[in-house]
Amino acid sequence: MAMQTVTTTVAGLGMREFTGGSGDPLVMLHHSFGNPGWMPIHEALAYHYTVHALDLPGYGGTDGSERPEWARHPRDLALLVGQWLRAKELGPVELVGCGFGGWVAAELATMSPELLKRLVLVGAAGLLPENGRIYDQFLVSHSNYVEAAFSSTEAFEAIYPRNGDESEEHPLGDDTLVVWDMNREMTTRVGWKPYMYNRRLRPLLGGVTIPALVVWGDNDAVVPMECAHAYVEALPDARLEIVPDCGHAVDLEAPESLAAIITGGEG
């Protein structure tokens, strides 16, 4: 399916998206390690929606969305996504947020629900687990963290092929490493502490009355499953879908399953 790269200026910042498909608008927000491109999940959803895979401000490398130097919290990114939706006159949209992008999506839902038709949270960060702990990327290498988002090394390598010589110390491509590091720097700028949660989010979720879908991989090793239940309890109109044999990055590891869940089984 044809895909375009579009950049829209919001608050003085160029914000990049990959867009394609037809139908009602659906916006996808990526994990903290970034969106690797126009992926199978985008392709699958593009049969049903006009998909906008947005690079969050400061993410996507030198060709991605520009960094807001002033941003200090994921809420600042949510505000910019809201401004971007208004600038493009896209709303109300289906908003799908994965991992860190799920946290940004949830924040946007609390501040501008009128921009959204439905909120889809996939392994979303944002809430402090009561028992478990959100896996801390700042204590491990970039590649170890991203690999932890998949249920197996094979699933990780299907998205991030080790395209160098296996005997090399760093078999992943230079471009991937640079973009990962730029994305991690941006995550550091807005999310160093408290790590991947906002105590002021949960009380506000009660006011988000639009339909919500919470999707979790049953092998999520990054955000504990209890956070899925916490979102379902806090959001007035939410239901939970669990994807079997899948890690944290459901969008990358099980795109067909996720697309089917989002489209109501029409996938």
């Binding site: 204590l139 110390e169 991690r184 720097e185 160093w192």
Partner: protein, 430 residues
């Protein structure tokens, strides 16, 4: 010459095999291996050694601060500085340095520095540092804003020391509705500020631009020429001619009457596999956003390479390169002459004892330094024209230099890219 004593104050009494098994000895290396009974002994031995260093004629005693690692027991630089203020009489207390960005209150440093300066009767040198990235991880200070926080905290610290309160501070990273500490520095306008580092071009330039001496931390001798070139160009660009008074050097030096014994003890500098900040991962030592973006690819490759263990050069090689100097007083004096001739610092920090060197040997090393090495170094310093900031009464900073004494040479500005030097220091502090 300004001659100072230093030790990292190692927590040497930990099970090294556990560190080897883990593959790292910092940040996440469990403190279940920390024995406070041994900690108490080690602290008190170091305190006795500092007293001796003060008595035998050192001009200064250098202290520092690190976290979550056995290589350094000093978790708070101002605590050890305070103790030195009370138990020593003559030596200056050389803080290298107060890790400004890793704490949320520069005002706390201003108050503590003022107290220490008064209690020590004006013997404080209040050096400042960014702190290595792993200190940001340990104290949970955002590493992406480390340099911004360092710059702002410095400005606030200097203003607090020099200006009368109350005033307010509304910065990007620090805000105070009232800055008005009832503790003022004794030395006017303020204690000297020195800046240590291994080899970060950005920090070298920053120090030169403020006319603060840069204390090169055991940087390989053959690189110091390049280091001072960066400093000198930045100094000339802001209008002053730098000299040895702007240069400091920290070197690992161990002395005993028996040269072989000295060299055997000096092998302790290689403890923890010779990595004097402990074995850590690159993503702890330099978290994303901490270092220069110009070397992002090199950094990302290193961070994802999963190389375990030490990258330190073997002991004999470091001895040959004079990165470690050990022997009898005469042997050491001869070696240090070469160091002084090559590096030309007026400030020399003698890192005397590390690892498992026992208390008695440490005391003997300090004694021999005081009675034999220091007098010889002073003579060599005079011969080579290595006059320190106190001898010359040189300006404390660029801000405190009379404008008519400055002659900026714009063409002197250094165009060298940032990346080369930063990646070098990263390799050293892996």
């Amino acid at each position: 010459m300004f001659l100072s004593y230093f030790t990292e104050q190692p927590m040497s009494a930990y099970p090294a095999d556990e560190g080897l098994k883990e593959g790292f000895t910092s940040v996440m290396f469990s403190n279940k291996y920390y024995d406070p009974v041994e900690g108490s002994r080690l602290f008190n031995e170091r305190i006795e050694e500092y007293k001796l260093a003060d008595q035998v004629g050192f001009d200064g005693i250098m202290v520092n601060e690190h976290h979550n690692a056995p290589f350094c027991m000093q978790a708070r630089i101002t605590v050890m500085s305070s103790i030195l203020a009370a138990i020593t009489e003559n030596a200056k207390i050389v803080q290298l340095g107060n890790p400004l960005p890793t704490y949320d209150s520069p005002l706390m440093f201003a108050e503590e520095i003022a107290m220490i300066d008064m209690i020590s009767k004006g013997r404080l040198i209040s050096g400042i540092v960014r702190g290595a990235g792993q200190e940001s991880v340990c104290l949970n200070a955002n590493p992406a804003y480390n340099r911004e926080r360092f710059n702002e905290a410095h400005d606030l610290l200097v203003k607090t020391m020099t200006d009368d309160g109350p005033f307010s501070w509304e910065g990007e990273h620090f805000q105070y509705r009232v800055v008005n500490p009832w503790a003022r520095v004794l030395q006017k306008p303020h204690p000297r500020i020195w800046v240590p580092g291994v080899f970060s071009a950005e920090t070298i330039r920053w120090a030169a631009q403020h006319r603060y001496p840069y204390i090169s931390l055991n940087t390989p001798l053959h690189l110091t020429g390049e280091l001072w070139e960066i400093y000198d160009q930045a100094a000339r660009a802001v209008g002053y001619e730098p000299g040895p008074e702007n240069r400091g050097y920290l070197l690992r030096v161990h002395v005993q009457k028996d040269g072989d014994k000295a060299r055997e003890n000096a092998r302790e500098f290689m403890w923890m596999q010779g990595e004097f900040t402990g074995i850590g991962h690159p993503y702890w030592v330099s978290p994303s956003g901490y270092g220069s973006s110009a070397r992002r690819l090199d950094y990302a490759k290193m961070a994802n390479a999963e190389v375990r263990g030490s990258r330190a050069a073997p002991f004999e090689q470091q001895l040959a390169a004079r990165e470690i100097v050990a022997g009898t007083p005469d042997e050491v004096i001869a070696e240090l002459r070469v160091v002084l001739e090559t590096c030309r610092p007026s400030i020399l920090m003698l890192w005397g004892n590390d690892g498992d060197v026992n208390h008695d040997d440490s005391l003997r090393c300090i004694e021999l330094m005081g009675t034999e090495v220091l007098p010889a170094l002073r003579d060599i310093g005079d011969e080579l024209g290595l006059h320190d900031p106190f001898e010359l009464d040189s300006p404390i900073s660029l801000a405190l230099t009379p404008p008519d004494e400055l002659n900026p040479i714009e063409s002197a500005a250094d165009e060298r890219p940032e990346d080369t030097s930063d990646s070098r220091s990263l390799k050293m502090f892996r």
